[in-house]
Symmetry: C2
Subunit: 386 residues, 2 copies
């Protein structure tokens, strides 16, 4: 398999774009990535588009082909992939595989979602498509319910408390203030977080990511050919996709997602690095407690210490490892199918040295994208070329 | 890239399964394919599931991981792919690529759709997700409208008439009578076809495929390893995916889909065969006129002669080339995401010599799966091992 690099990146802002058709969001991000790459668009030999709920929420599918058509790309395979909230990461992995296996020399990755135009009830129903509805869904459980249960378990086992969880919210919302693409950065106090509207005990409003529209895109290319591109190349060191249990009762432990643990282990092995080598991580903080669990599952924080590390500032920019300097899902937003691609966009510009909230001397970055009740996961590792 | 074989096949009947949850349809077909393959399910290293409108019509997504979980498969990448009506063919191609590129030695392909439980208006809206809705959709055009226009154009240019088009319907409906998995086989007269309810001039009811539920599945494996499997192996000679225009105005000619033409050309080249070598074809007859256009686009019938060949019985079992001996979409049914996988199931059992409507001495078979307004297409070629 050939080595792969990211040579072009693009993104819309995440937030409210309710007047913009979903395919136009995707076209905007993709056009930016292609221009950034500086390659002839005729070089693009495959398109992978990550999207979750365009069917139910916008009535528009075949987005991969539609976007390629509107971009004027050549007649190449165009595929939408779906794995709930991990759809974007899955799209990236498939584009890397297409290039690595020699099917094509360059591929376009797009992630996109349009959600804010829909009524809340419809959005909640669409998001619940990520559950095993005959099992978990029929109990009335939603995703805030799942992560509320996980929080309770984590608190009981490790003593994780409200102040530690709030430290995650404060950090990510503050990071969001520094990212012009973020939906809702804010400077928040513990009191404001605790006093925000209750969603699902113990989750308050600020513990939950917002509903978002947005798109992000990347151009990946065989590393041996990056001389053709004018975009600053970033090495892809690993792009792993795993599966966990599809229903909550299938998880042996709510304090950990086995799909994350196995994906991270394989990614470290593929990249030939240790967790301590990672300088910056964009991980799947759909809820505040998720960042604590994810950071432990990824091995960047010792098991049970996710809350303490957040409170001590060890996951802030300038700490031991910078977690979600973009603002994460909590502040940057979570346009579901776009999220995984957006994380890679953020880490790529960290490693390029062009991020508005920079992690100093970042050489190795990681992204983590988790779908459903942990049923689908991708972990990718990027590196600044030596 | 390694050579690939199909070693296991499974399918539910196509038709009404409105009491069965969509994931259970998929599990039924997949379990049958794995048992048929006779390999340890721990050998399966990737799952690709083709589905189009499970989100809007059933509220259940993440089907790839959900089905793998219910089957007790190991922790491997599980991906839903979508390209409208070509979703199943796209799933097959990706499973073949996963094996060919050495990512895994065996992969599971599933195609599934559940549609008949939904009211007609909801189904029509869901199917229209395959259009470019900002362009074609906003004009009020539906798929019967598109194929009605294509028929008018074909009639004008080539003189294709009602009796020729009815010959396609009669053939496929009669073939369906011989296929126990088919939804609606029938022995029909030209008069009955012409007298069936008008749908969209010149299409009558019997010119249109039914709404269907169903699932089909395949196990593909590295050809060098088929000795591990007990299922009779069939060689995969080509698995091609292409893109055409996403909107109707983008097609230079309504009498041809360029995505089919280019896919067929590449497939013949990959397989190292000529069109005349093909013994049996399952092609995308979503409407009667589509079979005429597709058979010409695939090069198995001379341009403009699709109607004449059908009327003369040259595309019947026993003719020059057997087209849709399963009954095709018109009679076997069209559970959208399942269709492409079901076509491969049908051709595989033709080449195994186990088909209930057998094509004598069939050695080379082809499948053709077309999505949207020709925006996505797959053409695959299978061969009986020498």
């Amino acid at each position: 398999m050939r080595e792969v690099s990211i040579v072009g990146i693009g993104s819309t802002s995440f937030g409210r774009h309710a007047g913009t058709p979903i395919e136009q969001l995707a076209v905007a991000a993709a056009a930016q990535a292609i221009v950034d790459a500086g390659i002839d668009r005729g070089r693009i030999g495959a398109v992978y588009l990550g999207n979750f709920v365009s069917g139910p929420l916008t009535g528009q599918e075949v987005l991969a082909g539609l976007v390629a058509d509107q971009l004027g790309l050549p007649n190449v395979p165009c595929t939408k992939v779906e794995g709930a909230c991990a759809s974007g990461g899955i799209a990236f992995r498939h584009a890397c595989l297409a290039v690595a296996s020699g099917q094509c020399d360059a591929a376009l990755v797009v992630g996109v979602e349009a959600m804010t135009h829909a009524p809340t009830g419809q959005t909640t129903a669409a998001l619940n498509c990520a559950m095993d509805n005959r099992n978990d869904g029929s109990s009335g459980l939603t995703f805030p319910g799942l992560f509320g249960l996980a929080w309770r378990m984590h608190a009981r086992r490790y003593g994780t408390d409200r102040r530690q969880v709030s430290a995650v919210v404060r950090k990510n919302k503050a990071n969001g203030l520094l990212n012009p693409l973020a939906q809702m950065g804010a400077r928040l106090s513990d009191e404001q977080i605790a006093a925000s509207a209750p969603i699902c005990d113990p989750l308050q409003l600020f513990d939950c990511c917002p509903t978002s529209d947005g798109a992000a895109a990347l151009v990946v290319m065989a590393r041996s050919m990056v001389g053709e591109a004018t975009g600053q190349p970033i090495d892809v060191l690993a792009a792993v996709q795993t599966r966990g249990a599809a229903r909550i009762a299938g998880h042996p432990d709510l304090c950990s997602f086995e799909a994350t643990v196995s994906a991270a282990q394989r990614a470290y092995a593929d990249a030939g690095i240790r967790p301590a080598d990672v300088d910056v991580v964009e991980l799947h903080d759909c809820f505040s407690i998720a960042e604590i669990i994810d950071s432990e599952d990824l091995g960047i924080v010792p098991r049970g210490q996710g809350g303490a590390w957040a409170l001590e500032g060890r996951t802030a920019v300038g700490g031991d490892v910078a977690v979600n300097p973009s603002g994460g899902l909590l502040a940057k937003g979570h346009p579901v199918g776009a999220t995984g691609v957006g994380q890679l966009f953020e880490v790529a510009r960290q490693l390029r040295g062009t991020h508005p909230n920079p992690v100093r001397d970042a050489r190795i970055g990681m992204t983590h994208n988790l779908g459903g009740t942990g049923v689908a996961c991708t972990v990718s590792i990027l590196g600044r070329p030596a």
